[in-house]
Symmetry: C2
Subunit: 224 residues, 2 copies
């Protein structure tokens, strides 16, 4: 009888663990910073709420051990409730966006949204490493080359008021990730003036995105 | 009276031009080769048929004059019937695919489709220029590095039979664009053996895509 009583906590713990495993949430793994995942986290927050997904933030010290287990050796990755691990920021973002009205249903609007998100991701993917004097020089060439060309396209698409496609979409979140990164001096060797001197519509657009109630609510609930 | 008769052909031509302008078709502009646009052309062919879109193929000699008029200085671009010009292969491909059952409606399937297309596009976008001895060396480093990592991911996703997500989708077309390019020695300085020796599931998958009735019908109707 005494033994049975002692086993009770274990059994309760087992039931609790099983229930938790059964209701596993989608899990995003990324570093503890905004980086390229900010818009994606906002989309997950809108799709699933504060407690409907797991915002798994890792430290840089833990990255070398985790890296070989990821699909392409990069973050973010999404772990689905069934255990499947999916890479590619844009793919995950579109999945969250399609469940939260942040991705247009109209095919032409969706294409215009995709053109903007793909351009921002291409900018981030092509950015050369910034370490050392060689890195600084390569970053400056990049800023004058493809980065400026991409920002010129985004500026030509940016509206004078509101968002790229009327309502807030993934395009706004992703453009804001890029321009805000530059404007806050978080893009090594690329000065904030690249945006503030040359792309006034993008700068004003970023202000509107950061002031949007969804983004404000996200930033109140998460570190960054 | 004589003057009126002479004006008739002009007026008829004017009417014909106006009618043509009113029924303008979506126009894809790309080089006269398969390149990264093959899957996109197949999707347009499935969405709009042989005569429902314009397959505008340009010669390399005409490219320098056209380049500055494109959104990012690259092809392909899509010109919509209303005149808007849109870039980014993946964006255009998803637009055509969503109108031709080549893009999954289920959000998770769509995400898995996007992960594969995004990975193939990332491979193409990051490929260093291949000219000269330096180009050859950089291409070989790339083949051993990111290209192999990406193909390893695609191989792990590739099914033993059929297509990535059951039915033929944009993921199959885009993966086939990449593997077929390597297998036909159309990826400078990357030997066909990179795929044939190391990624047997991708090689067999490419054979199935090339034998699919849609792709066979496309290749019968278009040069490549």
């Amino acid at each position: 009888k005494r033994q049975a009583a002692e086993e009770e906590p274990f059994r309760l713990r087992f039931v609790a663990d099983t229930l938790r495993a059964m209701s596993t949430l989608p899990k995003l793994t990324y570093f503890n910073g905004a980086g390229r995942a900010l818009g994606l986290r906002v989309a997950l927050f809108k799709a699933f709420g504060k407690d409907g997904w797991e915002d798994h933030r890792i430290e840089f010290a833990d990255w070398p051990a985790l890296k070989p287990t990821t699909p392409l050796g990069v973050l973010p990755v999404l772990t689905l409730p069934d255990g499947r691990v999916v890479g590619q920021t844009e793919a995950i973002m579109r999945w969250a966006g399609s469940q939260s009205d942040l991705y247009p249903k109209d095919p032409v609007q969706a294409m215009l949204c995709d053109e903007i998100t793909a351009t921002c991701i291409e900018v981030l993917n092509k950015t050369p490493p910034g370490a050392g004097e060689e890195g600084r020089q390569k970053r400056q060439e990049y800023a004058a080359g493809f980065l400026t060309r991409a920002l010129t396209l985004l500026e030509s698409r940016a509206p004078a008021e509101g968002f790229f496609l009327g309502e807030l979409t993934l395009a706004d979140l992703m453009a804001s990730v890029l321009t805000n990164m530059i404007l806050t001096n978080d893009f090594d060797h690329v000065p904030a003036s690249l945006v503030s001197d040359n792309f006034p519509k993008l700068q004003a657009h970023n202000d509107r995105v950061r002031a949007d109630p969804l983004v404000v609510a996200y930033l109140a609930a998460y570190p960054n």
